[in-house]
């Protein structure tokens, strides 16, 4: 069974997923970040594939993408690093990024490499439904890769139902209509949107992301979904001069402890 499915089978609430950009802050940060996140009790990780033009991201993740590219990160290097560390990590791993680097790598080659290195799912926000079905689905399914779709507060009920049937693994609920990293207070989270999705009775598990930055926003989001995803706040924490072995447990503790 896909590790994402296993996770949602055994844990229904308060699932914590963390996003970070591969190749940031150091070219070889990925293995130690993954180990520390698992050790700290994170349930799932989204590994960002850096891209030159991250149009859905705010300044912090733009900067981490930019630095990662300067550090020489590429899909080839990312898969090499993953192949080394995967044996020691058992939580589900997702690759998240923009379509062009995947397209350039080759969709079939990418799927095979994901399978080889133990990737469980893929989130490509600029890959629309129709393009996914015609170009990617056969390869992703063969590699047992979940392809996770996004919804936003603007997404209509009927489209949420459609996405619910087409997504695999879970639905990524974008908390507000914004790029990543917009600061939000827990009380400002779109409660009516979360409740609307709850009432629709979707079959897929839901994870809330974008603007989840601390304990209070995490807890608030977890009331309405199976869990939440933290990205920008974690990237910011990594920026500090302290080693990840110290930063990461402290950061995770500040969210879940």
């Amino acid at each position: 069974m896909n590790r994402i499915d296993q996770l949602f089978k055994k844990k229904k609430k308060n699932i914590l997923s963390v996003y970070f950009t591969a190749g940031y802050p150091q070219p070889d940060s990925l293995p130690v970040i993954l180990s520390e996140l698992e050790k700290a009790g994170v349930d799932m990780v989204e590994i960002g594939i850096p891209f030159s033009d991250p149009t859905a991201d705010g300044p912090v993740i733009q900067q981490s993408n930019h630095q990662a590219l300067i550090n020489g990160m590429s899909l080839t290097l990312l898969f090499n690093q993953l192949a080394q560390i995967r044996k020691k990590i058992s939580i589900p791993l997702i690759l998240m990024g923009y379509f062009n680097p995947v397209y350039r790598f080759g969709i079939e080659a990418f799927s095979l490499k994901c399978r080889e290195t133990g990737i469980d799912g893929v989130i490509l926000p600029d890959l629309p439904l129709r393009e996914y079905e015609t170009r990617c689905k056969p390869f992703f399914e063969k590699a047992k890769l979940h392809n996770i779709f996004l919804i936003t507060p603007e997404t209509s009920d009927s489209r949420i139902h459609e996405i619910d049937t087409k997504t695999s693994g879970f639905i990524y609920m974008v908390s507000s209509s914004s790029t990543t990293g917009k600061n939000q207070k827990a009380k400002d989270l779109h409660k009516d949107y979360f409740e609307r999705v709850q009432k629709l009775g979707v079959r897929s598990p839901c994870m809330i992301g974008f603007g989840i930055a601390n304990r209070s926003t995490f807890r608030q989001a977890c009331k309405y979904a199976n869990g939440a995803i933290i990205g920008t706040a974690f990237i910011k924490a990594l920026k500090k001069e302290t080693p990840p072995e110290k930063t990461i447990p402290e950061f995770i503790q500040s969210i879940t402890g």
């Binding site: 891209f51 030159s52 033009d53 991250p54 149009t55 859905a56 991201d57 705010g58 733009q62 930019h66 590219l69 590429s74 899909l75 080839t76 923009y98 379509f99 062009n100 680097p101 995947v102 397209y103 350039r104 790598f105 926000p125 600029d126 890959l127 629309p128 129709r130 393009e131 779709f149 996004l150 919804i151 936003t152 603007e154 997404t155 209509s156 489209r159 974008v174 209509s177 914004s178 790029t179 917009k182």
Partner: protein
């Protein structure tokens, strides 16, 4: 070749190029546009206001001018389509008038735009002033420096110009920032893309608004030459909006040769170029599958051209399709060739062209003309905005 189709299909594709590679955060806005744009722009009310503004406000039809000097120099007949004589100094106003009217029909109150040379930003700020709409223009820091006069004009028109400091600080980066703005303002904002790039329906919508150029050409050529068909049409191409407009009504007539001219910068064998079709490969940038400049890892590379309006690492999907099918031919001109062509037109015809438009003029040296045939050069803009660059280059 006559059986080829050069219109966008239902899925937003020209052959293999195009589509709407958008994140879900842009879906509602793009879907609203896709569903409504054709009905709106074909409505009688829209058409009549659009036509009236083009004529009374922008000064259309723009003249078709027979250039004695160029014709003699190249031993042929060369006409200049004077898009430089539009209000605000370029063809860009055709599109911004259309999109502002469309935005009003969609009930939008806030307009955003990206700009490179500042011509699209200026055209957007102008129509927003006319219609009383809030206007925010994203412009690369480097371009703000290169095109300072346009920045000042936009500010005087009441627009907010936001400098973009990422990447090369040029057009690509300004476009990224405008897209982020739109994601963050999903309900009240319309994004006026300035070229035939971006997700469907933008390439088709902008092409339609610019197609007034080729529509006028047909009538004017018939009057002046006795035939509405020229032997060829030449236009510069960055994203490709003036070329798309100049080609549009001739696309299905294979007797008319269509030539686009890209900016080679310091040469296509150097890293400092913006000749996307010569150095690029298929990829997705700014929500459209087209030909883009990228490295082996699919990272978009930084373009270079002396002209801020052509300094873009992609090209509209229509042009990628016209290139791959052979319907249009694409050439390139280097900075040096462009400066010389601009100097000649200025001193022999008394017309100072925009750096962008001078690319089309520079490519004339690469064409074998017949004496009696008619060539149209689309002179997309005037050179006022480029005076600093010209003065520095020529040392006047």
């Amino acid at each position: 070749m006559t059986t080829m189709n050069y219109q966008v299909n239902e899925d937003g594709y020209y052959g293999k190029f195009g589509g709407a590679w958008i994140p879900e955060m842009m879906y509602v806005n793009i879907e609203e546009l896709r569903v409504r744009y054709l009905d709106i722009i074909h409505s009688e009310e829209f058409e009549s206001e659009f036509r009236q503004l083009l004529s009374d406000y922008s000064g259309r039809p723009t003249p078709l001018y027979f250039s004695h000097w160029l014709s003699e120099y190249y031993h042929t007949k060369i006409f200049l389509k004077r898009e430089d004589l539009n209000h605000t100094g370029s063809h860009k106003l055709n599109n911004t008038i259309g999109q502002v009217l469309l935005a009003l029909k969609l009930g939008k109150t806030r307009i955003i735009a990206e700009t490179g040379a500042g011509q699209h930003g200026l055209a957007t700020a102008t129509v927003c002033a006319l219609k009383g709409l809030e206007c925010i223009v994203y412009m690369g820091d480097l371009d703000m420096e290169r095109q300072e006069t346009n920045v000042k004009k936009m500010k005087m028109l009441g627009a907010t110009v936001i400098p973009v400091h990422t990447g090369n600080k040029t057009l690509k980066d300004a476009t990224n920032e405008a897209m982020r703005d739109w994601i963050n303002h999903p309900s009240d904002t319309h994004y006026i893309i300035g070229s035939v790039v971006g997700p469907h329906p933008y390439p088709d919508m902008v092409t339609r608004f610019q197609s007034v150029i080729s529509k006028e050409l047909k009538t004017q050529l018939a009057e002046k030459t006795g035939s509405e068909k020229p032997a060829r049409i030449i236009a510069c191409v960055g994203g490709g909006s003036n070329a798309a407009g100049a080609f549009y009504h001739f696309l299905d007539d294979p007797e008319v040769e269509l030539i686009g001219v890209e900016a080679a910068g310091k040469g296509i064998y150097t890293a400092e170029t913006a000749a996307t079709l010569f150095v690029g490969s298929p990829g997705v940038l700014h929500s459209s599958m087209s030909i883009i400049m990228q490295n082996k890892d699919g990272q978009v590379t930084e373009p270079y051209s002396i002209s801020a309006g052509l300094d873009y690492p992609g090209i509209g999907p229509l042009h990628a399709h016209l290139c791959k099918t052979g319907r249009a031919k694409y050439l390139y001109a280097t900075d040096k060739e462009v400066m010389e062509a601009a100097r000649l037109l200025t001193q022999k015809e008394g017309i100072i062209p925009a750096l962008e438009s001078a690319h089309a003029l520079a490519a004339l040296t690469q064409i074998r003309f017949k004496k009696e045939e008619v060539t149209v050069v689309n002179l997309s803009g005037r050179g006022d905005k480029d005076m600093e660059t010209y003065l520095r280059y020529f040392g006047y």
